[in-house]
Amino acid sequence: MTAIAENKPAYDGQVLDLSGKSGARAFKNTLATVLIVLAFVIAMIPLLWILITVIGKGYHLLLNADWWSQSQRGITVRRAGGGAYHAIMGTLIMSLITAVIAVPIAVLGAIYLVEYGKGTRAAKIVSFMIDILTGVPSIVAALFVYAVWITVFGFNRVGFAVSLSLVLLMLPVVLRSTEEMLKLVPDELREASYALGVPKWKTILKVVVPTAFGGIVTGVMLGLARVMGETAPLLILVGYSKNINLNPFSGFMGALPTMINQDRTELALPNAADRVWAAALTLILLVLVLNVLARLVARFSAVKSK
């Protein structure tokens, strides 16, 4: 007994503070905090830099009403004037056609995954293919449509071909977000509907989809925002036109990304440079408005799951 007591380190009268951290550990902790905050700051720099640059250089043309109502018809890189109406309309028309084709397939596909094929092998294959489609680079989607539309069928390079390739890019985005939303719909709602004798398809259309509607709209907007900024398909599948062409099935068509691409080699000329930055700002505005709207819709229509 005495031996044990003697071996025990003598209590030196100081309060043993276990909550404190040794110097090295505290230093590491501080260092990690600094690095993590630094990573965030570094990540924010390009975003702010890009936004400030594009807004600063592009805003003054946007204040001009001509920008929104005129095309670049007959205007050379050295001359001022004209607007982006042709490109804005081109971008909107092509993305709207894309949405018209992609959204029904995406929503029905998501309904298949959540309501019909749940857990089956077929659904797993579909789900895997959606992941693959998510990863398909836009240039490969464009080449594929080029191969089918132009090489095999012999059609011309038109706006509709661009829409077809954008469908490949928009489809997985909308499908995945719709799937997530449908999964959030509580099973109680479905069961209540079944219990009333409502057939499955009516339950889906009248109960499940309306409940998840806000989320589906969010997904569609995010999908639209993604395809609007795509440039690669435009470069391969349609020529840039300075004139107003609202027909996606014939002739070349203007679009904001190709409008930027058209004049970017002439940035030394002030008029061309102005137009490039104004077009860039217009494009960012379109995409940002869609993004912000999507978030607002998502916030105010979230499925309340218990």
Partner: protein
């Protein structure tokens, strides 16, 4: 008691309460209705039910959870489906709508298959005419009587620019994800996350413009410093001429572009770290960083790896930003492996030469290059998916339980 088609095993080792309920119902149906055309469905459902039950049992392994958690859920679902299948109401509508949904699912599969098949079909004739080794040649001269094209140089530039982008983006993305999940004040976290997501909303052509005009000049000292320090390695050797459109610049811009993807996924996985792990670490006296290093990072490791792979896939296929930034070397210049020289990636090469798609042979060469890009991104993305599936939080816990129960068994 075994089902008529023999799908269900006659006897089952564990005697949980549910095991007899289902065959009993089935028997009842069998006696009262007899073998109707729907019977196949029922047997199938039964088999499915059993398979599901068995898999949950395997997953939890202890059997305790299986006994008290599974009986109710699959039972009610199966009942609901049975009720529906028997009801005459809405049969046609269901078949139509279900068919539409199934068709859309099938369409997605078809589209992906078509992408591969069409690219392959158009690439093969061109590849057959290729007079040089497609995989190992650096020459790109697809037109004329003696077409020669190889992807070695394209492949090199594509891969090295994407890998550098990943090396830059992943540490920063992990930092941002940790900042959002564990460091930022609660009220700031969500706006910060949205702000990082906005990086993804900026169209790539604007990244390209900004990258070459504003970002490349400030990278010049970095490039010179790196070249001075590491110039003896060929990859870092700076060729003469002050060119801003180099692979390294493109890589940094790519890093910014993939940052939101990697951040978003890492953020999600970090936020899912079980609170018990975190509090356990803190209760043992860990500092915040030690808590993250011992609890959060190991839990999120596979998620971060798959997020990086998805980012890599995105970087491999990025077209326009790279196209604008990279200066294309002259045809006569010797090939330069340096990351401080210009070059072309698959995507930028294809987009750069869209005007050259005039003859089937030339088009075929570019489509062959596109096919290689498709295959590479396919492999990278599949790898990411496999890692996600293997390490999904749902799949992780049972494995840990198994280890825990094994340890318990050993100690007992």
């Amino acid at each position: 008691m075994s089902s008529p088609d023999g799908t269900a095993p006659p006897d089952r080792p564990d005697g949980t309460a549910t095991n007899h309920a289902d065959p009993a119902i089935e028997d009842l149906v069998h006696e009262n209705i007899g073998p109707t055309p729907k019977f196949g469905d029922l047997a199938e459902q039964h088999a499915e039910h059993e398979a599901a039950q068995r898999s949950t049992e395997v997953m939890t392994e202890t059997g305790v959870e299986a006994a008290d958690s599974t009986p109710a859920a699959p039972e009610t679902r199966a009942d609901a489906d049975r009720e529906l299948a028997l009801g005459p109401v809405g049969h046609l509508g269901d078949r139509l709508f279900g068919g539409l949904a199934r068709g859309s699912g099938g369409l997605v599969v078809l589209i992906v298959a078509f992408v591969g098949i069409f690219l392959l079909a158009l690439a093969i004739p061109a590849l057959a005419d290729d007079k040089s080794s497609f995989l190992f040649s650096r020459v790109w001269n697809p037109g004329g009587d003696n077409p020669q094209f190889g992807i070695a140089a394209l492949f090199y530039t594509t891969v090295i620019s994407s890998i550098i982008a990943m090396l830059i983006a992943v540490p920063i993305a992990i930092g941002v994800a940790l900042f959002v999940t564990y460091y930022a004040p609660k009220r700031l976290a969500s706006p910060v996350a949205h702000a990082v997501d906005l990086l993804a909303a900026v169209p790539s052509i604007i990244y390209g413009l900004w990258g070459i005009l504003f970002f490349a000049p400030i990278l010049r000292p970095v490039i010179n410093g790196l070249a001075d320090a590491l110039g003896w390695i060929p990859v870092f050797e700076k060729p003469p001429g002050d060119d801003v459109g180099v692979v390294f610049t493109a890589s940094v811009v790519l890093a910014i572009m993939i940052l939101p993807v990697v951040t978003a996924i890492s953020r999600e996985i970090f936020a899912q770290t079980p609170i018990a792990h975190r509090e356990g670490a803190l209760a043992l006296g860990a500092t915040k960083w030690e808590m993250i290093r011992t609890a959060v990072l190991p839990y999120g490791r596979s998620g971060v790896v798959s997020a990086s792979m998805l980012g890599l896939g995105r970087a491999l296929g990025e077209t326009v930003a790279v196209l604008i930034i990279l200066s294309v070397p002259n045809g006569n210049d010797p090939w330069n492996p340096s990351i401080f020289a210009g070059g072309e990636t698959f995507a930028s090469k294809i987009a750069n030469n869209a005007a050259e798609f005039d003859s089937p042979e030339k088009t075929g060469a570019y489509i062959a290059a596109g096919l290689v890009l498709f295959v590479v991104t396919f492999l990278v993305n599949s790898a990411a998916r496999i890692i996600v599936d293997r390490s999904a939080p749902g799949a992780k816990r049972p494995r840990r339980n198994r280890r825990a129960s094994a340890a318990e068994g050993a100690s007992a």
